[in-house]
C-alpha cells in the first residue's frame, strides 16, 4: 500500500535536525511519499520504521530471475498495465510442454521439432526459451529421465510437478540450471516451498480459484519464501483469463503485494489438442499478462506471428526503431551496381535487406532519412517524397555510385515522375508492393539485362 506523507511523518524521529538535507521531518516525509527521496537518507529512522517503509515503498511487482548464463531470463518487474504508459520491461517467454506420459519417441520428436524454430528478427533471437516438463504420476524414474533429457537442451525448465518425491528427485538432476518448480498448492505448499528453497529455485503456485491462490501465496510468504511465480491457469479459458488479468491488475493498480509476481498460463491444459485455439490464446495472453505461456507446439506457424507481436508490444513506445541513413552495398555491390531505395524504419530495412540478400543480386540499398517511419507513413507525413529522395541522392549518393538507375518501393509508385524530374539523369524503376516479391523481381531484372 502506498503511504502518504503524513503516514511517513508519523514514523520519523521528528528531530528536525536537517541532516537529510530537508528543512523539517515533514518536508522529508513529503519527498519520500513522492518517491523523490529514499527513506535511508535519514540516519535516525528506527529499524522497525525502516522495515515498514521499505516494504511500502518497494516496487509493486517483484522481478524474478530464472535460468543461468545465456539462458537467464527476467520475469515480472512491471509497473504499468498498458504499454502507452511506460515500456513493459520483461518479455513474455514461451515454454513447450512435455509430459512423462509421452513415449520416448514422442519426446525425442518433439525436442527435435522444437530445435528448428530458432531465428533472428530485427536483431533479436526468437525461440521458445523454456520447456515445461509435466509429471503424470507414472513413476519417479520415468520423470527423472525425462527431466534429464530436457535439461540437456540448455533451455530453462519449468517442472510441472505436485508430487514431492518426484520433485525432489527431478531437482537433483536439474537445479543447477535454475528451473522453476511449479508444484505448490493449498495442500502441499509447506513441503514444496522447502524443496524449492533448499534447491535455490523459484516456486510456482497454483490455486483452485483466485481466492485459494491468494491464500496460498500469503501462507508461503509467511514461511519466508518470496521467490515465486503464480500459475494462473484455471479449469476454463474464461477463468484463466479472469485470474491472469486480476492478478496483474491487483498488484499494479491496487497495490496488492501478495499478487506482485509473474504468471504462468498453461494453454496445454485449457486448450489441449486444439492447435488453432492455442494460437489465438497465445496472442491473447501475450497481450494480457502472461509472463510464461505454456503451449503444446511452437512451430513456425505459431512463432512468426507471436514473436512479431511480442517484439511490437515490448518496444519502448517513445523510441522508433531506426537504422542509419546511408548506402548499404549488398551481395558484393560496387559503384556500378544499381540502387534501390527505401526508408529508415528498422522493420522495413530488415524485411527489404533480407529479401535482397536472398536474391543474390548485387545492389546498393540506399536508406533515406525518413524519420524512422514506414514507407506509407513517411510518405503521408511528407518525409519520403520526390524532394527528400532527390536531395538525399544528390548529397549522399551521386558522388559515390556511378549507376543512374534506382528502384523505388511499389507503395510509392506515384513518386516516379516527381523523382525523375528532380533528379536529372536518373531512371526510376517501380518495384512491386511487398518485399517478399523482391527476389523474383530482382532476378527478372538481372535476366532481362536491366541492371
Amino acid at each position: 500500500m502506498a503511504l502518504s506523507g503524513i503516514q511517513i511523518f508519523k514514523m520519523t524521529p521528528k528531530k528536525n535536525c536537517k541532516e537529510c538535507g530537508c528543512p523539517t521531518c515533514m518536508a522529508f516525509s513529503m519527498k519520500v511519499a513522492q518517491g523523490a527521496m529514499d527513506i535511508s537518507a535519514c540516519p535516525y529512522m528506527s529499524d522497525d520504521a525502516m522495515a515498514q517503509l521499505s516494504e511500502a515503498t518497494a516496487p509493486p511487482m517483484k522481478t524474478i530471475k530464472v535460468g543461468t548464463g545465456d539462458s537467464e531470463y527476467t520475469l515480472g518487474g512491471e509497473t504499468v498495465l498498458y504499454r502507452h504508459e511506460k515500456t513493459f520491461v520483461s518479455k513474455t517467454r514461451y515454454a513447450v510442454s512435455l509430459c512423462s506420459c509421452m513415449s520416448d519417441e514422442e519426446i525425442d520428436a518433439k525436442l527435435e521439432e522444437d530445435k528448428k524454430v530458432d531465428y533472428d528478427r530485427i536483431g533479436e533471437r526468437m525461440c521458445a526459451e523454456m520447456l515445461y516438463v509435466n509429471y503424470a504420476g507414472n513413476g519417479v524414474d520415468k520423470y527423472v529421465s525425462l527431466v534429464t533429457k530436457a535439461a540437456a537442451t540448455g533451455k530453462v525448465l519449468v517442472l510441472g510437478c505436485e508430487d514431492a518425491d518426484a520433485a525432489k528427485a527431478a531437482l537433483e538432476v536439474c537445479k543447477a540450471g535454475k528451473p522453476i518448480l511449479n508444484g505448490a498448492n493449498a495442500s502441499n505448499y509447506e513441503e514444496m516451498s522447502k524443496l524449492a528453497t533448499e534447491a535455490g529455485v523459484v516456486l510456482g503456485i497454483s490455486g483452485a480459484n483466485i481466492d485459494e491462490l491468494h491464500d496460498t501465496v500469503e501462507a508461503i510468504e509467511k514461511l519466508g519464501n518470496k521467490n515465486l511465480v503464480l500459475d494462473t491457469t484455471e479449469a476454463t479459458i474464461k477463468e484463466t483469463f479472469a485470474t491472469t488479468v486480476q492478478v496483474r491488475r491487483a498488484s499494479l493498480k491496487d497495490t496488492d503485494r501478495t499478487f506482485g509476481y509473474p504468471s504462468i498460463v498453461n494453454l496445454a491444459k485449457i486448450a489441449q489438442g486444439d492447435r488453432y485455439m492455442q494460437q489465438a490464446l497465445l496472442s491473447l495472453f501475450t497481450m494480457k499478462y502472461g509472463s510464461i505461456i505454456v503451449l503444446e507446439e511452437m512451430g513456425y506457424a505459431e512463432a512468426l506471428p507471436v514473436f512479431g507481436l511480442r517484439q511490437n508490444v515490448f518496444t519502448d513506445p517513445q523510441k522508433p526503431m531506426k537504422v542509419e541513413p546511408g548506402i548499404y552495398p549488398l551481395n558484393g555491390a560496387d559503384e556500378n551496381s544499381i540502387c534501390l531505395t527505401t526508408v529508415d524504419f528498422a522493420l522495413t530495412y530488415f524485411l527489404v535487406s533480407g529479401e535482397l540478400e536472398r536474391s543474390g543480386v548485387p545492389v546498393n540499398l540506399v536508406i533515406n532519412d525518413a524519420g524512422g517511419l514506414s514507407v506509407l507513413t513517411s510518405w503521408a507525413a511528407g518525409k519520403f517524397s520526390g524532394n527528400s529522395i532527390s536531395k538525399f541522392f544528390k548529397e549522399n549518393v551521386e558522388d559515390k555510385v556511378k549507376s543512374r538507375k534506382v528502384i523505388i518501393p511499389g507503395k510509392v509508385a506515384v513518386l516516379k515522375g516527381d523523382i525523375e524530374s528532380k533528379l536529372p539523369g536518373w531512371e526510376v524503376i517501380v518495384a512491386p508492393l511487398e518485399a517478399v516479391q523482391l527476389v523474383k523481381f530482382m532476378k527478372d531484372l538481372q535476366a532481362n539485362g536491366e541492371l
Partner: protein
Amino acid sequence: MPFNRKPQKFNAAIKSVVIGSGDKTVTLGGENVLPFYAFDGEIKNGPKVGVEITDLGMEGEPESVKAYYEGAATMGEIAKKAAAMEGADFLCLRLAGGDPNGLNKSVEELIETVKEVADAVDVPLVVEGCKNVEKDSELLTKVAEVLQGRNVLVMSAREEDYKAVGAAAGLAYNQKVGAESAVDINLAKQLNVVMTQLGVSADSIVMNVGSAAVGYGYEYVVSTLDRIKAAALSQDDKMLQMPIITPIASETWNVKEAMATEEESPEWGNQEVRGVSMEIQTAAASLASGSDAVILKHPQSVATISKMIQELM
C-alpha cells in the same frame, strides 16, 4: 487477508450499433467493461466476427479458401457460402476491383456485384470501398443508395471523403457509417466530431481506427485501441464511444509470413497453416485491445476466433 476484488466499474459505455434488417441483425458494442473483462461486469454483446469476400471472386485467394468456396461460381453463390460459414456473424464485401491503380472496375459494374450479393443473402452486410478516396466517394455513395432499407455498414468515410460518404450513408440513406482513421486517437476523435457536426448521428457510427498485421507496426494499433477504450469508458468521452471494427484479413494475408510459398521458405512449413495463424493471432490481439468486430476470411480463423469469443463470454 482474502483477495479483495476491485472490479473496474465505469459510468460510461460503448454505444450499441445495430446493423442488418429483419430478423437478421447484429449488435456491435454496448459493453461497459474492458475487453473480455466479464469478471468486472456482464458483457451484453460479445465482439462479432465478419467474413470478407471481394468482388474479385476467388482470384488470388489461398488454395484452402478456394477449397471452401468450391462449386460457388457467381458472387451470389460465394456470398451464400460465406454467410453460412461456421462462426460468421456478418458478411463484408470489399470492392477491391474499383482501385484505379488496379482493375479500375466502373462504379456501375461494382454496384451490380453489390446488388447480386445483397440479393443472395439476408445476413447483416458491411461494404468496404477500394481505398481510393475519389473513387470511393462516388462508389460508396451509390452503395448506400442501392442498399436502402438493409441497414448496412458502409466503410469507409475518411478525413478526405467523409462529407460525401458520411452524408450519403448516414444522412440520406439511413445506413451506418464506418469512420476510418490512421492509427491515432486524436484523428479518430476528430473524424467523429466533424461527422456529427455534419449531422450524422453519433449512434450510427462505427470506427475503423486502423490496423496492421502483428509484427508490422502493430504496437501503434495496440496503443490506439487501448487509449480509445480508456477514454471512452473512464473519461466518458462521447466522441470515442463508437464501437470499433477492425479489418484483419486484408492486412494479414499480404505479409511474408502468409505469402512465402513452401518452395521459397522450406523451413517455415505449410503455407496455409502460417497464413491462418497470422490471421488468428492478429484478430485475437485486436480483440484483446478492444475491437468490437473483426473481419476475417479463412474458415478456420472464423471458427477459431468465434469460439474464443464464446469461451470468454
